[in-house]
Amino acid sequence: MIKLTIDDKQVEVDEGSTVLQAADKLGIHIPTLCYHKSLAPYGACRVCLVELTGSRGSIIQASCVYPAQEGLTVRTDTERVLKARRVMLELLLARCPDSERIKEMAAESGIEESRFPKKDDDCILCGLCARVCEERMGVGAVSFANRGSAREIAVPYDKHSQICITCGACQVVCPTDAVDLTEVTLNKPRPIMSDYDMGLSPRSSIYIPFAQAIPKVAVIDRNTCMHFLKDVCKSCENFCEANAIDYEQQDEFEEVDVGAVVLSPGFEQFDPDLKKELGYSRYPNVISSLQFERLLSASGPYLGEVLRSSDQKHPKKMAWVQCVGSRELECNYCSSVCCMYATKEAIIAKEHAPDLDCTVFFIDMRAFGKGFDAYYERAKELGVKYVRCRPSSIKEVPGTKNLRITYQGADGEIATEEFDMVVLSTGIRPPEEVRELAEKCGIELDQYGFAATQGLAPVETSKPGVYVCGPFASPKDIPETVIEASAGAAKAMALLTRERGTLITHREYPPEKDVSGQPPRIGVFVCHCGRNIGGFADVPGVVEYAKTLPNVVYAEDNLYTCSTDTQERISQLIAEHDLNRVIVASCSPRTHEPLFRNTCRQAGLNEYLFEMANIRDQCTWVHMHEPEMATRKARDLVRIAVAKARLLEPLVKGHLKVNNEALVIGGGLAGMTAALNLADQGFKVHLVEKEQQLGGNFRHIHSLLSGDDPQEKLTDAVGRIDSHPKIDVYLESKVSAVDGSVGNFKSTIQRNSTEKEVSHGVAIIATGANEYEPTEYLHGKDPRVLTQRCLEEWIAEGKPELQNLKSVVMIQCVGSREEARPYCSRICCSQAIKNAIALKDMRPETDVCILYRDIRTYGLLEEHYRKAREKGVRFIRYEENQKPEVSVKDGTLSVSSVDPILNAPVCVDCDLVVLAPAIIPDERVDEVGKLFKIPLNQDKFFLEAHMKLRPVDFATDGVFMCGLAHCPKSVEESIAQADAAAARAATILSKDEIELEATISEVVDENCDGCAYCIDPCPYNALTLIEYMYKGDIKKTVERDGALCKGCGVCMATCPKKGIFVRSFKLEQLGAMVEAALEEA
């Protein structure tokens, strides 16, 4: 090792290192243009000049080539150095006056204008391109040519190189952007495009897939990495300070024994290039919907700005084209999600630019999900235009690169409109590679390649024990995917009940040492994080500073504080110095706090006596050009952490015994399914049904489009429930009172005048919904006007009224999608089609006409829509403001409507009018909502914890829902959601006790005067006002339910008297941090 001094700082480096490398080790920045870590030093640009003092006086030398020598004294910032560097930069600036990099460096040295005569070159002859090509790639396609002032970088004979491997390294390393790869190579250079940005931005061959990737480590793309392709390069190795690059790494195969398999391989985007007429890969401003999602993202290719690919300008007029790769001959299904994502994209695009003109070309608006129609209406209010037409082609306008769409307008006329940008709403395809997976698992796929499932077993494949969830079974949205994921887990858990918990290993920790009454003894560990912190802030300086802070008894720096050996060292130091508080100043607590807390626990220290200072993500990484300020801020952040650490208290996580029984309210399909799954998992279930028998709405369903027999399923389910030892059924009953919270509820089940109290750990709300009783269209006045449910029963019974029917008219959206009930009832379109097909099958001559607003046969239901049309069922659309009219004249029933396509009235005489009434919430929802303190949405369906990600949970822990109580849904979807609710419930029931978060609120009884300001704002209903006798008086105070509180602290910020606080975030603790932030270092 060699010792030398640079700017008064000592450094030790390996033999053969240069002065520049030594300075780099110290974090001293020396500007350079021709130096590259993976190439031999060259000394061409002469910008890295430093002053060396030795026995023979001082000299100015290029630090990149000068070897580090024992005892050498180097200065990087003397006036002589700066002056010499300025002259070099002036010469370079004169040679390449347009180079951004040189201009920037010159400006940093205080040069505005060069005194030398300007040339118009762009190459500084640093040779980086030629050197990388020769040294790393072993090719030598570019090199120096000529001598003296004619010296230049060139390809031999000024022709495109035949030996160039088109790796692009020359272009990448060039500091002045002087190399154009297309002038070097014979081949067409193809940039490597980022998969994450959907091909909208380039990436390198070694890359971190995206900012939130887990694990967040770099990967090498073996298909493009030059080392893997040509056995050259290996440059990344020279840059990785952790020596983590391993080119020899191989794929590893692991074998695991499992009892069940859940398949969730997701979906692929339809390749829009297959639709040549839409010009996807030919026209830069035609992009796919997933690409547009990237454009909208703050982390996207233009950092959240919506820009055209062709000219990076903001579009003024945009179009979305729906059903690209969906609802067509070869792909006869609806992708289910595109109508809503296009609507969402249009709304967000308009949020970016309110004047943006947005048009969506669509066939049917399939806003069938919960809250979707309201969202669609909002888009229209915001000015998003919807045109009901499928454009046949897109043409680019030469010059502007705008796009011309020809379509049939509302009036039937052919119109042509120009747009700046077109988004193709590409459909969902099963991923290509799952065919192999399916084969290996031995499951059947359907005609499109989706996993084949049965209607009444929506997550079960053709092979027992293999389950499927998400879009691999059929196209679906996020909430349905999340529901099926839980349903798959429920099925697997029921199958593997005996094995539950057998693979869990518990980690042992030493007993915790008692720190009560001890003054704080703080240890501070400051991390270099390689160069990530140490390269930009003076870490040893921060350590020295930390030692001066009150109660700090030990401080040190570590190269990587998170490394395994440092964990052991921290453990030892805690014992050695009797530390009772630990601070790590490094990266983010969001990623590393669990690791260090665990280290504390292993050293016998309570994990809440740990604090972090984020001096990397929130300091050195964001102040890379201001080392002094970064150091100062790092000191401040450590001081703030010390201020908090001094006030930290050991906390204990509470534990709550869990009652392992479940209460299921509602004995319809959803309630029965949930009860059976939980009982199959071994949990006792109390199933409460208001009617005299189980089954609910399901009793009225006699056929399904999938061909399954619902009545058979009903008989089977009721039979199993009756005989299941784990299920108690309470018929003609209701829940009249609920007390307690997650893990320990006590509910009263009331039947007539008798009451029974049951204890349970969770509750599942499956209270269902009802069919709207239409008052319109002569329903209830003429017996020939009936509902779809009634028709279905007639068909099942073989009613004589159905013989020899000449004509039947069906009217959709009766009571749905209108002012009183602005939501879609979701199942009526497919129910009507199911019954229409049944009528046609009974008597093909019967004229069946369906009057609809949008046909919403989403997903795989689409094929039944086509089947109905093939069988001759007529579909005539009507507009909301021109509803059909049903009348009786001389005993003849007739329906008249206006066909918006022909813009002409249609009138049909018919034997029957069949209405598709809305699904309306059960009348008891308010009551149930109050009992469990769970909210309803505007339409009076229960409101889940999160519309997309937590569709069966409530914000209140331990309460779940399924079935129609959530929103209108099909039989299959109710089953999946019921299983999902069972799975979610089992996450609690399968534990003997639940661990409560320690950092929750705590009431300070002596400060609380019972003003109750905090009670309403608590989002979890965790606070209750109570009274008790104290010294002969009534004392009011607030009680906190530890099982419900999540520690959000809204109560603390509301309390005027310091009567309640959140542990670890006490006002005094936060206040001390504020004061420390304001102290001068």
């Binding site: 964001v622 979890y1020 959000c1048 602290g1049 304001l1078």
Partner: protein, 138 residues
């Protein structure tokens, strides 16, 4: 020169679930912003007592920033809306203390908005710098 420029101190209460993560992302993506912010991590913007804001400003902070989740994204349902409701009260208190309203800000920054976090800090630092040191500064 830089030495003569007034360097304000801004105290930032950042929600653990969104803007604290957004600040981390700003770091991960090397978004540079002025080094004047001192972040104090809180679990929710709705946890920040108005007294903390007033205390900070009367004890010498040149600015105070509360950063929470966008409306609808709160980890605790609607703590951010509670923070927004308190904003007005805080502004009234600032008036009583004679503190310029620009010294206090409430902003929504999500975990994926690293660039936006940096932009908010740049903007606020410049605005507070333009106001000059707080009158409560010792």
């Amino acid at each position: 020169m830089a030495d003569e420029q007034f360097e304000p101190i801004i105290v930032g209460f950042c929600c653990n679930w969104c803007s604290y993560a957004g600040a981390d992302l700003a770091g991960v993506s090397r978004q540079q912003y002025p080094p004047n912010l001192r972040i104090i991590r809180v679990m929710c913007s709705g946890m920040v007592h108005p007294n903390l804001v007033i205390d900070a400003l009367t004890k010498g902070a040149d600015g105070v920033l509360i950063c929470g989740c966008h409306p609808g994204d709160c980890h605790y349902l609607e703590g951010n809306l509670k923070a927004e409701n308190r904003k007005e009260a805080i502004e009234l208190m600032l008036e009583d203390f004679g503190i310029e309203p620009e010294r206090f800000r409430l902003e929504w920054v999500s975990a994926s908005e690293g660039p936006r976090f940096a932009e908010v800090i740049r903007e606020m630092t410049e605005a507070v710098r333009a106001l000059g040191p707080s009158m409560y500064k010792a």
